[in-house]
Amino acid sequence: MLTVYEPYFVDYVKGITKDYRTFKPIFLTSAIGFDGATASQHLTVFSPAVDADCILFAFNVDFNNSNVLVKITDVSSGYVWNMLQSSPTLTIAGSPNQCIMGVTGQVMPVLPLVCPFFLSRQSKLQYDFRNSATSLTTGGNVTAVGIKLLN
């Protein structure tokens, strides 16, 4: 039988949420803090820890720069979201932020994840950002959008 995979894994999310009594929206914002002066500045920031299980559905960043790269790691499981190519002359520090976090100022500034992510209680996402080498971003905030699962 032909299996057709739908984006966004609706049944998969229903499977997780059935174990909880209710849920509330949650927006986990982390300040990145690019100084705007250092080319290719590397910064590591974490999402705030939540005292409940969460499912993350989407991301937003508050700047427009397709050359800012990001690598995401789930601290509790160690799962790294990105597979990165190595090169003798170019270090890729992550995937372009817009392919994960969307384009602010556009119709859909919050980009849905193809596969929602389960963030377990008290875990954090580790964001390893790298600023552009030429057109630098200053400051910056990243927001994970999801639901907090409650019993």
Partner: protein, 142 residues
């Protein structure tokens, strides 16, 4: 029983330094990973003016686009636009250790710098390889 996790495979397009030199054609391959993943779409971090692409799977010998006439816009969308990740018509399962051949040709007459091509999908892990935290999630979803 399986668990699904976000997966982003970012590749350097062009020279090892990420430059798509004018009128040149470059071939890159996706990472062959041990798990099956479900490919949902593509992203590029540059505006592909007159850049064309062809794709093929090196495992099931299927050519996704036969010639270099396919605009990169049609496959990977436009950077900075409404859909930074252009979804495929249907998500496509990619079997373990598959390499997808991606050939990109810059017909614009100008070099394009810092070119990254990203496959966006969902990685499918079996129970045996999971740590405790992810197993816990998997049991919840079952």
């Amino acid at each position: 029983m399986n668990i699904y996790l976000p997966y982003f495979d970012t590749l350097i397009s062009g020279t090892p330094g990420g430059v798509l030199v004018a009128n040149m054609r470059y071939i890159v391959y996706s990472h062959p990973i041990a798990e099956r993943y479900i490919l949902s779409g593509f992203n590029v971090n540059f505006n592909p003016a007159s850049v064309t692409i062809t794709l093929a799977s090196k495992t099931d010998k299927h050519v996704w686009s036969p010639f270099f006439h396919t605009s990169l816009h049609a496959v990977a969308g436009r950077v900075g636009d409404v859909e930074p990740v252009l979804l495929l018509p249907r998500a496509q399962p990619i079997e373990p250790y598959t390499r997808i051949q991606i050939a990109i040709e810059n017909q614009s007459g100008e070099n394009i710098n810092n070119c990254l091509f990203t496959l966006v999908g969902t990685r499918e892990f079996a129970e045996e390889v999971l740590c405790t935290t992810l197993k816990d999630w998997m049991y919840k979803a079952a």
